[in-house]
């Protein structure tokens, strides 16, 4: 394929003190693709996702979004950290949905979605409200526009959070274990929204333990183990033909979920 990747990570490294949590991650996400990271906790999936959105800074390798390095620019041979404004502008091109929803509790569902539209993209309140209504409708919460987060269930809060992220029309949407904090019966409504986004061609990078879902929607799956990509490929390859004992035993824990 000759088209440039939307997200291209090469040899990404990250330390927390002495501990190296990412030991050289390579990953490519193309426009319209859904790419999933799976792996045990502590394998570095979430840290990698946070590096893409600059909530953490990687300290080796590079992450390119549409060909631009994330978080810094090269001045000759040295990396120079981008200014706060430029970093914010890069973040605005990437949406992120969190495990704990992180809705703003002092704002209604509608205001949560509108905040970025008005304060980052400079849209008028009327226009922002129209966009917010559209996306709240898409996630099935049109009538909850004026509800505060505490008046919504976990599943509804997470759907508002998805609407908030996608309303910004990001180039790429990141999902960080977005169903892990939900009661089992609320998981499906959130996965349903994600599936419909994937089908509409949204480019998505997700970390998830919902193996059935990952297998169903992903174009590409990476199994991370101790900060490295241990196996990557199409979902069928990774799930049906695990190359390492670690992946076999990791998937074994989800056994039963797969024997459909």
């Amino acid at each position: 394929m000759t088209e440039t990747a939307l997200l291209q990570a090469t040899n990404v490294r990250k330390h927390f003190g002495e501990i190296e949590v990412l030991k050289g991650i390579d990953l490519t996400v193309r426009q319209g693709q859904v790419v999933s990271l799976i792996g045990a906790s502590g394998s570095g999936k979430t840290t990698f996702l946070r590096c893409v959105n600059l909530l953490e800074e990687h300290d080796g390798g590079e992450i390119l979004l549409d060909g631009d390095p994330i978080g810094y620019r090269m001045a000759g041979e040295t990396r120079k950290r981008l200014s706060e404004t430029k970093i914010s502008a890069q973040r605005a091109r990437i949406g992120m949905v969190f495990q704990q929803f992180n809705l703003f509790p002092h704002l209604t569902a509608g205001q949560n979605v509108m905040l970025g539209l008005t304060k980052v993209q400079g849209k008028s309140t009327a226009e922002a409200r129209e966009i917010a209504d559209h996306w709240l409708g898409r996630v099935g919460l049109a009538e909850r526009r004026d509800h505060y987060p505490y008046q919504l269930s976990g599943g509804q809060q997470q759907r508002v959070a998805i609407a908030r992220a996608v309303a910004m029309q990001p180039r790429l949407l990141l999902f960080d274990e977005v169903t892990s904090a939900l009661d089992p019966e609320l998981v499906a409504e959130v996965l349903g929204v994600m599936q419909s986004l994937a089908e509409s061609g949204m480019t998505m990078l997700l970390v998830s333990h919902e193996m059935l879902f990952v297998r169903e929607v992903s174009h590409h799956v990476l199994f991370l183990d101790q900060g490295r990509v241990a196996q990557a490929g199409a979902p069928s390859e990774v799930f049906d033909n695990p190359q390492s004992e670690r992946l076999r035993s990791f998937l074994g824990r989800f056994h039963g979920i797969f024997s459909r």
């Binding site: 600059l54 502008a89 949406g95 704990q100 509790p105 304060k119 980052v120 992220a165 910004m168």
Partner: protein
Amino acid sequence: MDFSMAPGTFLFEAWQARASLLSGLGVTMLSSALSIVMATVCGILMGVALSYGWWWLRLLARLYVDLMRGIPVLVLILFTYYGLALFGVNVAAFWAGVIALGAFATAHVAENFRGAVESVPAGQMEAAKAIGLTFGKRLTYVILPQAFRRMLPPWVNTGLEIVKGTTLLSIIGVVELLLSVQQQMARNYMIIDFYLLATVFYLIINFTLAQLGALLERKTSYLRY
């Protein structure tokens, strides 16, 4: 206590002295209000420095807070009025008092602010970053509205302390409520009666302030977790 209005009774004396008592009350309320505004504005700025400043700014703010919390307000008032005069800075007694009280309470507000900001879950800042808000906007639209709610109870406390602290301005000759009451006593020797009158005034001011705080808390009660 005799509550008739005949000459020589408390009510008569109080009515006679109404102009100076009201003026004292006004000075108390004005100096309180100015100090509260100063402490709130400066305290929040200093709180931002404490929470988010470069290391040297945090250090300076920390030094200020520890210094202000460590010395008695009265010493601060005397220093602002008499001490600064030694360096050729002459400040009117009223303003010296307002500045000293405001500077003192600034330290408290700053520390309350820092605590309030730190108690806002880290995910809030991250979500605000994720939608691309710059630092100032993250603070303005996401962190501060939540921090204010958490700051409210200690902020009301600081306000009450300031109102009571204005009595210290009498030491440098500002005729606020306490001093104006004392001036009346010197004339009519009705000591208990006039101290009680002052007490009632202070209670009314502080009760009103506390109710205002409670109202603000109710107005922002949607901020639950």
